[in-house]
């Protein structure tokens, strides 16, 4: 089931001069499956936050349709099943963690008989139980972020939108937040993640989409996006005597570390010809692994290519 189903969504921020209008989303379509961690990536101003805001009814779309949990986004009651952690959130400083969790629970239409237990559970989950009765104005940035995560989960939502969830959080805290998100996914929740920290997105996301200037430029699983099909890392039992291998000489070795080689091939046939030739010459393969980029490398290359093409 698609928990998010968006078709041809366009958002234009109108300016006084028509030429200064900003196209934040351009015919953007996206479907997100239930129970996945979905990462939305893009440089600043790509339209990521606008997309989330449209889904949550904070901003209105210029055109296109969007549904969440099978209902149109204009139906505000569906937000009872949604959690949200915005970027640059501001919580009322005069409330404490417990009070704001009760407030958001009520606003979400969530009135369980054991709300107090749920509050204790969530504060324990984000390591904030000791700060339960301390006014929010005394919290650090990282603590606010942890509280924000608890707030996004207070109504036991089916879909959680997180905009830069680890912003201002130390490395240990980030790991803890990642663990929380993976646990939520294991409970069948869908997590929609906006983050600049691509290494983190790579670690936990099942699927990723990349936005650039309001357009969807890439989409796929992290595995698909980070694998480079033409480049392989081969490890042999001994170092190569280069002159004896014609196929590999034709192809060219990109990198060499002892008996580990990175080669570039154009086709599968070419890869198999190299394997055959090496085997015939008495070399044994210890491994053949498609070379992987990090998500960050792939992202930077992709965005640079787009920028070059545009200019």
């Amino acid at each position: 089931m698609h928990v998010i189903n968006v078709n041809n969504l366009t958002k234009v921020y109108k300016a006084r001069k028509r030429t200064a209008d900003v196209l934040a989303l351009n015919n953007f379509s996206l479907q997100v499956e239930e129970g996945k961690i979905f990462g939305l990536l893009g440089p600043n101003g790509a339209g990521k936050t606008t997309f989330i805001k449209i889904l949550l009814g904070i901003t209105h779309p210029t055109s296109g349709t969007a549904e969440m949990l099978g209902k149109p986004i204009q139906n505000y009651t569906i937000k009872a099943r949604i959690g949200y952690l915005p970027e640059n959130h501001r919580y009322p400083g005069y409330l404490n963690a417990e009070q704001i969790l009760i407030y958001f629970s009520k606003l979400s239409g969530y009135y369980p008989s054991d709300l107090n237990s749920r509050i204790n559970f969530l504060l324990h989950l984000v390591k904030m139980e000791k700060w339960k009765r301390v006014k929010i104005k005394k919290y650090s940035k990282g603590m606010m972020q942890r509280l924000g995560l608890a707030l996004s989960m207070i109504n036991d939502p089916d879909v959680i939108f997180l905009d830069e969830p680890t912003d201002g959080v130390d490395p240990i805290g980030r790991k803890e937040i990642r663990d929380v998100l993976v646990n939520l996914k294991n409970e069948g929740k869908t997590i929609f993640l906006n983050s600049h920290l691509l290494s983190e997105v790579e670690l936990i996301s099942d699927e990723v989409a990349i936005l650039h200037k309001g357009n969807l430029v890439q989409r796929g699983s992290v595995q698909e996006l980070t694998t480079t099909k033409e480049i392989y890392e081969i490890t042999l039992d001994k170092a190569l005597v280069m002159e004896s291998i014609n196929a590999i000489n034709e192809t060219g070795i990109i990198e060499r570390h002892g008996n580990k080689y990175t080669i570039k091939v154009a086709t599968n046939e070419e890869l198999n010809r190299i394997i055959d030739e090496l085997r015939q010459n008495g070399y044994y393969f210890q491994s053949i692994v498609p070379k992987k980029h990090s998500l960050e490398e792939m992202f930077i290359n992709l965005i640079n290519d787009k920028e070059k093409n545009a200019s």
Binding site: I58, Y76, K79, Y84, P86, N88, H89, P92, L107, G109
Partner: protein, 274 residues
């Protein structure tokens, strides 16, 4: 309805956190304490010379005048000062709510935008109602105990003052949504409350200065469009003094102003991107 009550409740808390309403409450308590002390230590006979200026010796009339004196003595500054403080304290409700990071959270909840406006409006209005009711009821009790005057006229000032506040607050809400500026909302409201409304009450005198029908029409239009807080103040004093309402026009035109401002606030808020 539940959503409106929740937002109303937390608007109330926001107001409490500002301390201004607590100050108002503290000042009201002090006023009640001073009146209690005066009433406890000074006899009615000792008070009579205060109002016995026309030489009449009818004690019943004098007691009645004395209670009216005390009621008016409380209501006039309460109307002016109470509304001044109330406007000051609620002017930032909407701009604060619209701040980035705050409004996102609110709108991400299953609450309609009109419910948010109603909740904010009700929260501020109830806060003022409670504060006014506390002081007025306290004074009413003290006067009743001292002079055995249990007439309800003083209590009519509670809805009257609250209504005047609601009319101005509706304008504060609209300006807040349009400009996100609490200072502008406050300034424009004070401008109407302290300058325009008293001036427009005396518009007949202004017409004498300028012999122009167009100007009369313009001033009349402004008069009927803007809330009539000065006249609402006069109606409040009349009610307290037991004279009743002689002209309902300021009430219904101010009510229309309130409805128009709230409607525009809801429409504008519903259409805006945040």
């Amino acid at each position: 309805m539940r959503n409106i009550l929740t937002i109303c409740n937390y608007t109330f808390r926001e107001a409490l956190s500002r301390k201004i309403f607590l100050t108002f409450f503290g000042v009201s308590s002090l006023v009640l304490l001073i009146f209690s002390l005066i009433f406890a230590t000074v006899s009615i006979e000792d008070m009579l010379p205060v109002v016995n200026v026309n030489g009449e010796n009818q004690v019943d009339n004098l007691v009645s005048e004395l209670t009216i004196f005390f009621k008016t003595f409380i209501i006039v500054p309460l109307y002016g000062g109470g509304l001044f403080l109330s406007i000051f304290s609620v002017s930032s409700f909407i701009p604060n709510m619209l701040e980035k990071g705050n409004i996102d959270l609110l709108l991400s909840k299953p609450v309609s935008r009109s419910q948010i406006i109603w909740g904010k409006f009700a929260g501020g209005s109830i806060m003022v109602l409670l504060n006014v009711a506390y002081l007025v009821t306290g004074i009413w009790l003290l006067i009743g105990l001292k002079f055995s005057d249990w007439g309800m006229s003083l209590l009519y000032s509670i809805p009257s003052i609250t209504f005047a506040f609601m009319v101005l607050y509706a304008m504060i809400v609209l300006i807040g949504i349009l400009t996100r500026s609490s200072i502008l909302a406050m300034m424009l409201t004070y401008l109407i409350f302290f300058i325009f409304s008293p001036l427009l009450v005396a518009r007949e005198q202004i017409y004498l200065l300028f012999d122009s029908e167009i100007l009369e029409f313009l001033i009349d239009s402004v008069y009927y469009i803007l809330p009539k807080t000065s006249e609402l103040g006069k109606i409040t004093v009349d009610l307290v003094q037991g004279r009743g309402i002689s002209d309902y026009q300021p009430i219904w035109t101010s009510l229309l102003f309130l409805i128009l401002n709230l409607s525009l606030s809801i429409i504008t808020f519903s259409k805006k991107d945040y």
